[in-house]
């Protein structure tokens, strides 16, 4: 009865448009009032604080800052022009450029939303200039930005790691192959579309051009190298690698002469506000965790799932479907923060590797950014590229189908995900 009432309150608060972070907090205290546990109520502030009392989480503001610095430092344009001199002269060259540049950028940024915003600002006008239609250009740019949280660094991996205790370093390593895999999947699909639609091509770049463009992106590509090397060698933690990435980003930005000292306050402010939208959610979700623990939701869920099937394949399929459905209405990060504490206790029951599961859930929820009615990625790109959500959704459908197919492959092919992390731990 208490639980039923709580669920009703939760759903109502969510549907009337209250920020999800506050919904979690309000539901939690409503629940404590309903069950009348006042001792637990007094421990709520302590519980909120302990939500951020975690060194791993510090990687979020730091990678966020590195991303902002890179953005102001003009990294996107550089990456796009580098990818362009490399492969722009093939038929449909710019379509490949969009995907490749997205993969490069993913190795520097950890958020699909940020990446979609940065890429669509540069890529869509470029593609339109060469005669591609805007719907297609926007859809392609948005769809290929889903590699951002899969290829390290990744905000979702950091959050998943801190919520479950899985190693963030291992998650980063585990994301490399699936991220590249998704990129290649998109390249193949685009290859087929190329045959059909006969896309335009650009002029071949001279060797000198290629060399010059390469030189200008080297410093930026140092960042993924440092992150991976730092984790592999055990030289520093993901959090420390993020701090190092920030310092490099500052040096690069100033040496490219695009980052100005007067930009720094704006950059820091953006970082703080964007960070807090995530960490504040983690804080209130921690309070919401009272309900989950008190009502033994994971245990109940586990026993009802087990009565349904003991097969991990069925379990993962159900999780895939659940997350894709929830992803249509819930923001990816919010869904992750709410669902992981409920789902992760089931992993032991079904013998699913937590790192593999982290990759699955991340890809799953990132696909949710592309699905209406609530797809943050759709909102961002439709406002930047100035096209209606309906047209964007229509254009993105083929990519959505491909992403779901790739997701299923990654879900059932555990080895592809765990190959690098296992190799390094042996």
């Amino acid at each position: 009865m208490e639980m039923f009432l709580t669920i009703i309150i939760f759903i109502i608060l969510l549907l009337v448009g209250i920020p999800i972070s506050l919904v979690l907090a309000i539901t939690a205290i409503a629940y404590l009032f309903i069950v009348g546990d006042m001792t637990l109520l007094t421990s709520v502030p302590q519980k909120m604080f302990s939500g951020v009392d975690n060194f791993g989480l510090l990687a979020i503001p730091l990678f966020m800052l590195a991303g902002e610095l890179m953005n102001f430092g003009g990294i996107t344009t550089r990456l796009v022009s580098f990818a362009r001199v490399l492969i722009g002269h093939f038929r449909g060259g710019l379509t490949y450029v969009a995907i490749i540049a997205n993969m490069f950028l993913a190795s520097i940024l950890g958020s699909a939303n940020a990446q979609a915003a940065m890429m669509s600002k540069v890529m869509v006008p470029e593609m339109e200039k060469e005669g591609y239609d805007r719907d297609f250009s926007s859809a392609l740019t948005l769809a290929s930005s889903i590699v951002a949280p899969v290829i390290p660094p990744s905000m979702l991996f950091i959050i998943y790691g801190t919520l479950t205790g899985a190693s963030i370093g291992k998650l980063f390593l585990a994301g490399i192959i699936p991220g590249v895999f998704i990129g290649i999947g998109f390249l193949i699909v685009i290859g087929f579309m190329n045959h059909k639609y006969n896309f335009p091509k650009s002029e071949r770049a001279t060797l000198k051009d290629i060399f010059q463009n390469f030189l200008s992106v080297i410093p930026a590509l140092l960042i993924p190298f440092i992150i991976i090397y730092g984790i592999l060698s055990g030289m520093f933690t993901p959090t420390e690698s993020a701090a190092v990435a920030c310092i490099i980003a500052i040096i690069i930005g100033f040496s490219y002469r695009q980052l100005k000292a007067k930009n720094i306050p704006t950059i820091l402010k953006n970082t703080v506000v964007n960070t807090a939208t995530i960490t504040f959610l983690i804080v209130t979700a921690n309070v919401f965790g009272f309900i989950i623990a008190y009502e033994q939701i994971p245990q109940t869920l586990a026993s009802s799932m087990l009565s349904l099937s003991e097969n991990p394949i069925v379990f993962l399929l159900l999780v895939n479907i659940l997350l894709l459905l929830l992803g249509t209405v819930l923001d990816g990060i919010a869904a992750l923060i709410i669902l992981v504490p409920v789902l992760s206790p089931l992993l032991v029951t079904y013998g699913v590797d937590p790192v593999h599961f982290g990759v699955i859930i991340t890809i799953n929820l990132t696909i949710g950014l592309l699905t209406p009615p609530v797809g943050t990625g759709l909102f961002i790109v439709s406002s930047i590229a100035e096209i209606s959500i309906e047209r964007l959704v229509k254009a993105i459908l083929p990519f959505l189908v491909v992403s779901i197919v790739l997701l299923l492959i990654i879900t059932y092919w555990e080895d592809i995900v765990l190959w690098i992390p296992n190799m390094t731990s042996n």
Binding site: L13, L15, I29, F49, T271, A276, V283
Partner: protein, 161 residues
């Protein structure tokens, strides 16, 4: 109310951006110290975590002011403007009451702390813990500002009907 809210916004931005810059510098320096001088900064991690707590609560409050926190708005967006305002007023009453409860229990918590000290820096724990009540108080003021705006819009709307 709006002036108070804007003033607090300035304080929040200044404090949180300084702390953000400090975290970056501290953690970077700590890597350098560990590797090149073999002398790890024992306080670096704890100081950074405490500052992140402050950033979370001050920044969270800013996020509420800027309406930048994730919410499910596609249903309420379908309402007409007049109904949206009425709905907003109703939800803000709920939010403000809940926040008041949170603020009350968190000040209660801060004032009942025995003098515990942090594990590596040995500073009193009320310093990081205060981020909770202060951030929530600031959030309350920002949201009260929004609430008053909605009430004004509602009055104006009612006058014109």
């Amino acid at each position: 109310m709006k002036r108070v809210s804007d003033f607090i916004e300035r304080i929040e931005i200044i404090c949180s951006t300084i702390m953000m810059a400090a975290i970056t510098c501290i953690l970077f320096t700590s890597v350098l110290f560990r590797y090149f001088l073999n002398a790890p900064l024992y306080w670096a991690n704890e100081a950074s975590i405490f500052m992140m707590a402050w950033i979370t609560f001050l920044g969270g409050s800013l996020g509420l002011k800027y309406h930048s926190q994730a919410a499910i708005s596609f249903i309420i967006d379908r309402f007409n403007e007049w109904n949206q305002i009425k709905m907003k007023i109703a939800t803000y009453i709920v939010i403000l009451i809940a926040l008041a409860v949170f603020i009350y229990i968190s000040y209660d918590w801060i004032f009942s702390l025995t003098d515990t000290k942090s594990s590596s820096m040995r500073i009193p724990m009320w310093i990081p813990y205060s981020s909770v009540p202060i951030g929530l108080t600031f959030a309350f003021i920002h949201l009260l500002g929004h609430f008053i705006d909605y009430i004004k819009q509602w009055r104006r709307g009612r006058g014109s009907v």
